[in-house]
């Protein structure tokens, strides 16, 4: 490639109007006039924030290069914008180029039918490295899941940040803590490997209902997080259906040589971590202090009423009697299970059982 030419600078607007398309190779498409420059919208937040747009197009261009003829809808989805916003981005990109702003110096992405093609990519063939906040956010997510590869993954993220920003990355990583890993690194490492290689695993699993350990053969589809807990989601061979396994209840995990077919998208679209809560919930009466704490917690809890003393009655949906009892006891006398009758009895028995230990 030759050194940048020393020609006198051209006025960009003139270059745009006069020569933008005339010298472009003939293509079977309508030659779009370059649109008038959009008014500056630098003050708007979110998607229209100029910085956001830059970050988006720095991914958009190489992604379109890598996927020639990608559908407008698919590219918009990948970029997290609507189709019309994507078209606005493409219009914006038609204005981008480098001196001397000859026709071939501009980016050239065009839509034919409903597909996006790239005629000139101006070396934007891969996205830029991770910014320190991109890498740090991902590193925080990785730290909260864990596994044997955690250190390797975080180091690779760090190495993918521009050299000048690595110190900022190091600092930021120490400022976000998304939770402690749910299980031993080796168990998680093996689960991650089995998911990546689509290999069945043999789990030693402590079931919540029976408090007994059992071996389960599972085709692991993925890991997912709900309300602060991590789950393995996969197909249980003996029950012949997909189930969720709480990761902190997996005592051990062994990879087998058995490979499995990936579940279809349709199958995964129907997937749920838990069955939907049905039937009557469990009602808990909360004292004033307990109410203030409980109502700030995340979770499926419905406020039934506030009491005069500042307390509340709430309904817990889709939880076991055991769980509701533990929840109420965690308020140190400030809460009790009041209904329905079997749940209230369970609570009363738990209270008497525990009290017996202290007599």
């Amino acid at each position: 490639m030759k050194a940048p030419p020393k020609a006198p600078p051209r006025r960009r607007t003139a270059a745009k109007a006069a020569t933008a398309r005339t010298g472009a190779p003939a293509k079977a498409r309508a030659t779009l006039p370059r649109p008038p420059r959009a008014p500056a919208r630098e003050t708007e937040a979110g998607k229209n924030d100029p910085r956001e747009r830059l970050r988006r197009v720095l991914f958009l261009v190489p992604y379109a290069v890598q996927h020639p003829g990608i559908h407008v809808r698919e590219l918009a989805r990948r970029c997290g914008v609507t189709e019309s916003e994507l078209l606005e981005d493409l219009e914006f990109l038609m204005e981008v180029g480098s001196p001397p702003f000859a026709p071939d110096d501009f980016l050239d992405l065009y839509v034919e039918g409903d597909r996006v093609h790239v005629a000139l990519h101006q070396s934007f063939t891969r996205p830029p490295r991770f910014t320190e906040s991109e890498a740090a956010a991902l590193a925080a997510a990785v730290g909260a899941l864990g596994g044997e590869g955690t250190e390797r993954a975080v180091k690779a993220l760090r190495d993918s940040v521009p050299r000048d920003r690595r110190a900022s990355f190091d600092e930021l990583v120490d400022r976000i803590y998304a939770g402690a890993p749910p299980a031993r690194g080796s168990v998680l490492g093996r689960l991650q490997r089995s998911i990546a290689e689509r290999r069945a695993v043999k789990l030693t699993y402590l079931s919540a209902s029976s408090s007994t350990e059992a071996e389960r053969l599972v085709h692991p589809y993925t890991l997912a997080q709900r309300l602060g807990h991590w789950y393995l989601y996969g197909h249980d061979a003996s029950r012949d259906k997909p189930l969720a396994f709480r990761i902190d209840r997996i005592r051990d995990c062994a990879l087998t040589d058995q490979r499995f077919e990936a579940p279809s998208d349709a199958e995964l679209a129907r997937a749920r971590l838990f069955s939907e809560p049905t039937g009557e919930g469990i009602r808990v009466r909360l004292g004033p202090l307990a109410a203030a704490w409980a109502l700030a917690r995340p979770g499926a809890m419905e406020l039934l009423k506030r009491t005069d003393d500042g307390g509340a009655v709430v309904e817990l949906k889709g939880v076991s009697e055991e769980w509701a009892t533990r929840f109420a006891l965690s308020f140190g006398g400030g809460a009790e299970v009041i209904g329905p009758a079997p749940a209230a009895r369970h609570f009363a028995e738990a209270v008497r059982g525990a009290l017996a230990r202290y007599q």
Binding site: M1, K2, P4, K6, P9, A40, P50, R51, F59, Y63, Q66, F92, V96, S98, P99, P100, S123, P128, R129, T131, E134, A137, L138, A140, A141, V142, R152, A153, L157, S160, P162, D164, R165, R175, I176, Y177, A180, Q192, A196, L206, S211, Y221, T222, L223, A224, Q225, R226, G228, Y233, A262, L289, A296, A300, L329, F331, G332, E336, V351, L355, R357
Partner: protein, 333 residues
């Protein structure tokens, strides 16, 4: 000219230049933007350079030597996202962890995380199964209700990253009083599915932790956005604050406590006593030993574990547990 366009033009220009481009040359080619003489043009260029670096596009100045003239350039190796060269299981970790965090609806720097997840498809030659797993994770991890307070978390992430002071209107839980305070935001942590801010509280002149759900109003200091307002104190690592259990809040002097757990004891019950608890087996049961600085917190935790858990010592805490249970037993009788 629109700034976004100018920045991208500049990046395109320097990316394709074979040799460093002199300042004069840049001025000539971008006459409308950096033309003219003097400090103003240089300052504008330096600001653009800083903006590009924030997008992970580093512009370097080469001082030049006998073979090469001095000037600016974008080194392609320093620009393009490299292949991470990770084994498949580590990629699965990145994909699944990132997708779950993003889908949860509330995560610091969630917009950045979304960009990072997009870029990941360039950082590995064959993500295959991991990419499919990530899609499933996204679907499964989505909360029932749209995550409230995401913009609050986003604003706080920025304030933490840029070290800008914030003003909070905060609804306290115990006293239920609303206070207004200035806080130097040190970090963000997640516990039990909720997010917390930790920082130096200028009202209390001490480290404080704030539940994001109770922050009613947030104002970030807008002055001098690139100049930090504070230097975080290093005497309290975030992970330590985040893993601090309720009985480790500073209320009284440390008390040595013992808790007996009747088998079977599930791993999550053991883990619930935190990383600093010492576990011993006495043949028939597990005994947990720990130091509590907030005995009431420990009482509540032990009670929540049900009849298989028993607070053995110290006696005042044991008596407190018994009193709570006796009172509850009377109420449910």
């Amino acid at each position: 000219m629109q700034k976004a366009q100018r920045l991208l033009d500049l990046a395109a220009f320097l990316l394709r230049a074979a040799e460093p481009v002199s300042w004069r040359e840049i001025q000539e080619q971008f006459a409308d933007d950096y033309g003219g003489t003097g400090e103003a043009a240089i300052r504008k260029f330096e600001r653009d350079k800083a903006d590009l670096l924030e997008l992970a596009i580093p512009i370097r100045y080469e001082p030049g030597d006998e073979d090469l003239s001095a000037g600016y350039l974008i080194d392609r190796d320093e620009f393009y996202l490299p292949d991470l060269k990770l084994p498949p299981e580590d990629l699965a970790l990145l994909y699944v962890a990132g997708s779950a965090a993003l889908a949860s609806g509330a995560f610091p720097y969630s917009r950045d995380l979304a960009h990072a997840m997009n870029k990941l498809s360039f950082a590995a030659r064959a993500p295959g199964a991991s990419e499919a797993a990530a899609l499933a994770t996204t679907h499964l991890s989505r909360p029932d209700a749209a995550g409230a307070g995401t913009s609050l978390l986003e604003e706080l992430s920025r304030a933490v990253g840029t070290k800008k002071r914030v003003r909070l209107v905060y609804a306290g839980a115990e006293r239920r009083a609303r206070t207004e305070r200035e806080v130097d935001p040190y970090g963000l942590f997640q516990k039990g599915g909720a997010w917390f801010l930790t920082g130096w509280c200028h009202l209390r002149r001490d480290h404080r932790t704030f539940h994001l759900a109770r922050i009613e109003q947030l104002t970030v200091n807008q002055k001098a956005p690139r100049t930090p307002d504070f230097t975080p104190r290093k005497d309290l690592p975030l992970a330590e604050v985040a893993t601090r259990e309720t009985w480790e809040f500073t209320v009284h002097a440390p008390q040595h406590c013992r808790v007996r757990l009747e088998p079977p004891v599930s791993p999550e019950v053991l883990a619930s006593f935190g990383p600093r608890a010492r576990l011993t087996e006495d043949g028939t049961a597990t005994v947990v030993e720990l130091d509590a600085t907030n005995g009431e917190g420990l009482v509540r935790h032990v009670l929540s574990l049900g009849h298989r858990a028993e607070l053995l010592s110290p006696k005042p805490l044991r008596d407190r547990a018994r009193a709570i249970l006796a009172d509850l037993a009377r109420r449910v009788a």
